[in-house]
Symmetry: C2
Subunit: 313 residues, 2 copies
């Protein structure tokens, strides 16, 4: 049986259980004596991955390192695994490319901004989980986004991640040739998260499509970048077309996140708060404390989901 | 005369001088009362840009925040503007998206990894320089890269930034439509930097093409990512084709850097050290202290160039 595929094994109590291991789509890795995860400053020759990460079941990723640090403190308290005010060490302290924190079964990792930045992180994260022999992983991106036709502060659980032409796919260039990958996410996980939001009942949450772009300004039809060669009418028409196709928010990482998790057999979801309604403007001008509270909403929702999954609600 | 175009003015000594202001390709900005540079946590309503940044003449950008902090300390000492061990405050302390430092006429800004990440930063940086009424700016990306056919530690000054099919262009998607932009860089500036490297005489430096990709693993033909669906022969053929087309190194930001600086009238160069020779492997496995020394080489070269430009060599 190939490593990473589903595996029947006998558990201690004699029952057969089905565990989902990471599906590694790379036959070359088997031949490597050591694997250096350069952008994490971790390596199989220097770190014991199974003992460091073997018990991970939930991975939460987000752009900002400080937000991912705040999340680990929050989830630790929620799960009764931490003490208030306790400081969590950055597992990737040897580099400033990404930050990583862990408490119990939860790993929290930053990924920077944009498809290339999250893609580097995911390559190394998927290898980390594989080397650590993790199984039954749920991975959720908790992020920020621009909303379309939603009240600012609304949370969007992504049904499909679509590109700038509203297609549910990712074009990637591999050895100079374009390949198209599916950006499907786990339908049941999205529904479970929606149910959690209803149970919390604290903020507006919808399931909708998420448009993933390569640029924040021109790529999202903003009028306030250093370069803008279209007018307001063209911009609004584009955003309305997006809305009509089912898009409810715009961000910059979901498509490659969905594509890579798909290929690696990871159950994945994207949960982003909307910081503004793009039909009403481009600048993120809400007061700092309002934005801070908005950014906590995906954390609250995913925190509740993890607690519930662990039978602690 | 349009703002941002060249402007004849009388200087104090009565001579006419030609100053190059930022060329802002966005007519909408004139109508905005206030401009919030969200990812810098700076705004024209809260910060006095001309007094904070009006004297900037050199902007150095690089992926890692700690490297850009190290650079400002280095250049301060080189220019006799700092005291050893002095701490430079992060101008963007209100956010963890980017870090920014300034000493005298030099601004040092981090941009994260990948085209989308540097593109957000450049939109806001170009607007910052415009609002500050800066003129005669030289902007240089100092980064790390994978080399092709070069001894590790060699420095590449980019002649042209090319895409994954070796074309000197950037495809961008604007309102769902693909636009093609030129990735030309300043030829004279590249030559001046090459001359500086000869004068320093401390490391191998070449002028060559730089391939800019959207992914570090599959996009650069690596065999050690979480996903790899090609074999070693296909990989080596691709890298050899790149070499034959004039590519000497591969990184992930130069194309949009060149395209945006071009459109905004900024004199721009890309100077990257190569951390490994990709014809010999994929993993960055040199000892930490060797890599740290390599990463200082673009800083040394650009530091020397700035000193020379200011008549301090």
């Amino acid at each position: 049986m190939a490593p990473g595929s589903s595996n029947e094994k006998n558990t201690d109590d004699g029952q057969a259980s089905k565990e989902n291991f990471i599906h590694l789509c790379n036959p070359h890795l088997e031949k490597m004596k050591e694997d250096i995860l350069y952008h994490f400053a971790l390596g199989t020759g220097t770190h014991d991955f199974p003992s460091l990460f073997g018990d991970v079941k939930f991975v939460c990723v987000g752009g900002s390192p400080s937000r991912m640090k705040a999340f680990i403190a929050y989830i630790a308290e929620e799960l009764g695994l931490g003490t208030p005010g306790c400081d969590y060490p950055n597992i990737c302290a040897g580099t400033d490319r990404y930050a990583m924190y862990k408490v119990g079964p939860v790993l929290s990792v930053s990924h920077g901004m944009g498809i290339p930045s999250i893609s580097i992180m995911l390559h190394e994260l998927i290898k980390l989980l594989y080397h650590a022999k993790c199984s039954d992983i749920t991975i959720i991106r908790i992020g920020t986004s621009g909303g379309i036709g939603l009240k600012p502060g609304s949370v969007v659980i992504t049904r499909q991640s679509v590109d700038a032409t509203f297609k549910p796919q990712l074009e990637q260039v591999v050895l100079g040739r374009t390949v198209i990958r599916s950006t499907n996410l786990d339908e049941q996980l999205a529904k479970d998260l929606m149910q959690c939001s209803k149970e919390i009942g604290q903020f507006n949450t919808v399931i909708g499509n998420t448009m993933c772009t390569l640029d924040f300004y021109e790529g999202q039809g903003r009028l306030d970048g250093a370069i803008c060669l279209y007018d307001e009418e063209e911009k609004l028409q584009y955003l309305k077309n997006a809305y009509e196709s089912g898009v409810r928010n715009i961000e910059m990482e979901s498509s490659v996140f969905a594509a890579m998790c798909n290929l690696s057999g990871l159950k994945a979801a994207v949960v982003c708060v909307t910081l503004l309604n793009r039909l009403e403007g481009d600048q993120i001008s809400s007061p700092h404390d309002v934005l801070v509270e908005y950014q906590k909403r995906p954390q609250k929702l995913v925190g509740y989901f993890i607690k519930k999954s662990l039978g602690k609600v």
